[in-house]
């Protein structure tokens, strides 16, 4: 059996950088099913200079973006498109993202990915201090930092493709956190996993906030689509979300109305994992996002049913804190503290559900988890869950 083969694409410490590559079975083991791993640099517009690693495992196509903190720009599986149509033509090079715009929301200029990490020192709403100084722009820095190490590998034994990237969010007199992200996709599978290890490189404790903003638009998120999860607790974020409680799992017609955000504690199985699902109308296709509930105590559902031109999109968001200002999250004990050298691991599995059967199977898994407890669904925002 051929050994696992690894290609280092970027390693700044060793001055290594591969401008482009295109790997397939011939590079590993000709008996493998057709697959490809392709590295290139995008040119033109706001994507100029963005490195992407594009994977095709024979079923699933994925574009991972080292230049944007190992985010995932788009994915597809057959005719199931993962991701959304943002008003921006990304993936956007960080140089075009005015994170320090006084509005606090300059981050949105880069917002068009299927999976974007929010963190690491903070995430959530922008926060100003009492003197009016912007201390935490929206959603943090990690999505606009480039990986200084990238490697890809193929293991003929496990039939797994891997993309590994390392990104540091670190500077003198500040937090020094390292993200090591490993994306794994088995040949021929409609699912993939993201395994992130976040390490505090400092000799002092470091703070961590973290939310995975997994964004989906048409054709999976359209009026008549539905969301499913095994709910332990559901709390609406604010008045707009409270009005949506009777229809919290449904996607409404497009309108210029406020976004609706619901917070959850979810029910997990004996293995500690839970599953959430977005299903297209008629349950014909869908997207499942599973994760380890012990790593992610919380989950946020973002429903933003704007007209298509403005971005009809929903976010399925495993998180360790809620996307409020950091000072509030800290007051609620939801800001993690990593000790010197400490590593925390986060695992997410994402699956394209290409058939009604696949949707039904995911729904059955969620139903089974839901049997473990009766959900508590709050009609109003709750103290501790939102600033009051």
């Amino acid at each position: 059996m051929t050994q696992k083969k690894t290609w280092t694409l970027t390693d700044v410490d060793r001055d290594a950088y591969v401008s482009s590559c295109n790997l397939g079975p011939a590079d590993v083991d000709r008996d493998l099913v057709p697959f490809s791993i392709r590295k290139r640099t995008l040119r033109g517009g706001v994507r100029d200079g963005v490195d992407v690693v594009e994977i095709d495992n024979g079923a699933l196509k994925l574009a991972v973006v080292p230049t944007r903190g190992m985010g995932i720009h788009r994915a597809s599986c057959g005719d199931v498109q993962l991701g959304w149509q943002s008003p921006v033509h990304g993936p956007v090079h960080p140089r075009y993202v005015p994170q320090d715009e006084a509005s606090g929301i300059g981050w949105l200029s880069g917002f068009d990915e299927f999976l974007v990490r929010c963190g690491l020192e903070y995430c959530g709403a922008p926060e100003w201090n009492d003197a009016g100084k912007l201390i935490h722009p929206l959603h943090g820095r990690i999505a606009n930092l480039p990986a200084h190490y990238v490697e890809v590998s193929v293991d003929p034994a496990t039939r797994e493709l891997e993309v590994v990237g390392i990104v540091d969010e670190a500077r003198m007199f500040s937090n020094k956190l390292r993200l090591k992200s490993t994306l794994r996709a088995t040949l021929g599978s409609p699912s993939f996993t993201v395994t992130d290890e976040i390490t505090n490189l400092s000799s002092a404790p470091g703070e961590l906030e973290l939310l995975y903003h997994i964004n989906q638009g048409a054709p999976l998120a359209v009026p008549g689509s539905r969301f499913a999860a095994a709910v332990q607790t559901l709390v609406p974020k604010d008045a707009a979300a409270a009005r949506d409680i009777p229809t919290w799992s449904k996607y409404p017609p497009a309108a210029h109305a406020p976004e609706m955000v619901h917070f959850f504690e979810l029910l997990a199985g004996d293995d500690g994992w839970t599953k959430t699902m977005l299903a297209a109308p008629g349950d014909k296709q869908g997207l499942a996002v599973s994760f380890d509930r012990r790593q992610f105590p919380l989950f946020t559902l973002w429903k933003n049913p704007l007209p298509a031109a403005d971005g009809y999109v929903t976010g399925l968001e495993p998180c360790i804190n809620l996307p409020h200002v950091k000072s509030f999250e800290k007051s609620q004990g939801r800001v993690a503290v990593l000790q010197p050298g400490e590593t925390r691991r986060f695992d997410i599995r994402i699956e394209a559900l290409t058939t009604p059967d696949a949707v039904a199977k995911s729904q059955a898994e969620i139903d089974a988890l839901q049997k473990r407890a009766t959900p508590t669904i709050h009609q109003e925002p709750q103290r501790g869950w939102s600033p009051m």
Copy 2:
């Protein structure tokens, strides 16, 4: 007759990008007079990574800058140099323009072009809200956004060269305006036109401010040069401009004195167009800027006669609003609102006047327009034209 030929240089939606090209008659029709269209990427200094499309129509040379919102860096026609010597060595890559500098005027770090658009969501003076937050940095974002689509074409029938670029100023929860700019130059002509179509991509109304900052220094703008236009109304912006009213059309000796800004309504012909002109001393050469007065209700003349080392420069500026803070312009009804899907078109013609005859001919056209009405020249700033 050979058909119009078109080359797509950038199309991010189709993953197309041409690094460099150099087109001439042999690529279209060998019977055409010599011309060239050249695409390349500049390297070094603050221009590193800037794409330019350089056109030579046999009379006029032009450098269009897709990386800077389709601005025009420099132009020349024989020994007439269009543009100016800025303290910066541009064209400046947007990454070196600190638009979000707290001063509000970071835009100036990229200011060295012959033609730069100010807009689209706002233009004019920087504005802070009551809480001291910078809400509108100087002159807006469009000049520092790259085109995601660029094409060039040559039509042997009309003998026109064209450069088309599309730039989006758009993000989630914000304005979503698209600029489609078409520059046309007929083979052998000393003039060219800029036709901009601005479309609201959103399903909600979008706001538009717009000013074309057409900047000229030596040898056309020097002490003793003059400006000419068919004036309906002239209003000085402020006290410094009021002091200049007796000499509003003359360019003074260089001095470290405040800039002088005059606002105009101009007289148009039956075709709706008006013409303005800058003439070098002795009317030997000049620059004419014509535009459709129905599209541009206003015009701003910026006289900034600093010593050459600091930028002796004047701006001829067709505009739909005045370059005040946006809140004032809004209070005066000068901020345009584009309905969903609505497109507004703006046409400007720029002509290098290479001989005394050409200057005299332009002056005659302006004189003819001026006969339509006696100018109203205000000695002082006027309510509604400047904040009081």
Copy 3:
């Protein structure tokens, strides 16, 4: 004898740019000892797109960074490593340095060089005006501006390698200062010189603050290392520094304690020069920084003995002003004013001390200078030296 040979690597005014080169004796004179001058562009991570000029004079290796204002990233001489291990993996492209971050200290995201200039319009602590607007981010702009002109040369007669770079910190309505930096290294020598000429390009007076942040970590700066200089006056910056006065020349064990900053007037020889030294434990190796005391009236010693993971580092900093907020420096008359066209020159010599003998020799030179006066060592911060 072969003439001095010069290669222009960047000259934006002439549209010249050399992507890479690798020069050696064969390009100049085969009789010269082996040396190399190499130009390349780094790829990947936050260094992506950074130009470096790497010199090896047969004894000393140096990486000069045109993209970062002609800073020096790292150097080495045998086993003496000059520079330090920063939490960032630089050299960092300016696009990844959020200088306008509201914190005022975004500059630190690019802080990992051996020699970085702080200036030119201002340097030192960030300053906000009374309205809370950030007017001077930490340490100024020059380190994050690219050179628009770069040349290298070799003179067989003097056996000198040179790297010349020109960087403008200029924009309309602002300061217009030009830095021309010349680095010279004689073949086979463990030392090099930096000669900077700063010219006011404007026709109006221009303000200059300037500090050379020369940063050293392990193995030269570790617990037990020492600093030496011929002291005329020593003033601790603040309470933390005052507590360090009894041990001001010693490097303590690593700890999470405040940085210690000492200000000096130094004693110079008849030639106007003074010398400072950092010596590794046991005086086995070291680093000497000499400069013209008439050009640099002041010197700052920065001791920042954080644990290695957070950056154990010291700064030897010849300066014309102290690194306080600019308004304070101005009130003390330490902000230089350059008249139109005026040039100021600054000379620094840096030497790797590779043997105990070399350390002893430098110490002897410092001892000789110290004999010229008894040092005045203040126990407390002094009025005029720090804001009170």
